[in-house]
């Protein structure tokens, strides 16, 4: 087995496109935002509000809030919980993710 999709014999529907900071990436139906970003080779999509350090998935189950991301202008979404949908505009969340 070389991929988790093969391992589970998964046959998802056709891939669709979303953007991360303007860059197009492919996503599969049923994936979360975090899963789509991982598949695209991206492991961080947030910077902390103190030191500006990169963060991504840590707990993977919605408890740690490290994977916060801005999706379609809504900040503070947990990438590990939110399903990705066609055309999503995903943005790296810097600090609080809110404008003053």
């Amino acid at each position: 087995m070389s991929s988790p999709l093969d391992l589970a014999d998964a046959h998802p529907g056709p891939a669709f496109t979303v953007t991360l900071d303007g860059r197009e990436i492919e996503a599969l139906p049923g994936q979360t935002v975090a899963a789509a970003l991982w598949t695209a080779g991206v492991t961080s999509w947030r910077t902390t509000r103190g030191e500006g350090r990169p963060r991504g998935v840590f707990c993977g189950i919605g408890v740690c809030f490290d994977c916060l991301v801005t999706v379609n202008d809504r900040s503070g979404q947990r990438a590990c919980l939110v399903p990705v949908t066609p055309g999503d505009v995903i943005r790296t969340q810097e600090g609080t993710g809110c404008d003053e």
Binding site: G76, G95, T96, C98, D99, E100
Partner: protein, 383 residues
Amino acid sequence: MSQPLTCDVVVVGAGMVGAACALYAARAGLDVVVVDRGPVAGGTTGAGEGNLLVSDKEPGPELDLALLSGRLWGQLAEEFGQFIEYEAKGGVVVATSPGSLTALERLAAEQRAAGVLAEPVAGGALYTLEPHLAPGLPGGVHYPQDSQVMPALAAAHLLRASGARLFTGRTVTGVPRTSDGSVLGVRTDRGDIHAPALVNAAGTWGGDLAALAGATLPVLPRRGYVLVTEPLPRMIRHKVYAADYVADVASHSAALQTSPVVEGTAAGPILIGASRERVGFDRSFSLPALRALAAGATRLFPFLAEVRAIRSYVGFRPYMPDHLPAIGPDPRVPGLYHACGHEGAGIGLSTGTGHLLAQVLAAKTPDLDLTPFRPDRFAEEAA
């Protein structure tokens, strides 16, 4: 402890008021020991917002104490500012109806006469001060002297700077006295502490300590919740509250009262108070109280409806029947001094309280007349 400790003053209570008493007493040259059954800032100090307010006080002894305290906080800020998150952000009191604006402006005029900076703000100018306020508000008053500290940090840093010996996790179990009734110190579950002066800075639990020393002091808990939001950029620049807050503070009712008090913090979260209930020391979580806080805050700042609350905490303000603290010597028990019962204003009033008490302990004339704060003023009521 096998050797009994000896000092000039033993302060019971390692909250903000105890810390300020320790600092000023130590700076007056006294040898101070601070004892608390819990940790530093473990009582009401650790459950407060850190308000240093003049805006919510009517002219009178409490306002005089607040003005003195504000000046002292300004001095301490030069010494400790960044460690204690001191911020002279100013307060904005908002009238929600034309009628309440008239009452608010009348109060502001009286406060100005007492030395408070209070600048009336017409409707439009209100939004320059606070752009995200709900539209259509008739106006308010800007109080530049209102400030904020992080209360637990302030207590911890003042205690450290005082050089006082600090014993936490030690419970006072008795107050030994001489045959003529004078205080000899305190008895604790881990040994005696000998001192000719005992400062009751036990906050909401000050009545219990007074009783151990043979005096009555009617301190009652008045429960309050604070809601804390997710971290945000500075959306709210001042301490903002609705004019009805002043009436709630002065109320004698035991029932739940809430008036929105909203402010941003240096750390990011917005703090939302203030509820008041007299329900004893019940720590359980009251959804109706928090619902009322959230409703009030979102009426004042509609953008908050989308903002998430991440936590809430509960505390017990030390409430006295006339809303004034007890400060100064207790004429019924020689050597017993009180510094408690500040209700929701203890952080703000702590510096003035500590300063005045240190003057009394050093046998100097205090800067303010302590008569209104006399601890035995309720004696007749109690009898």
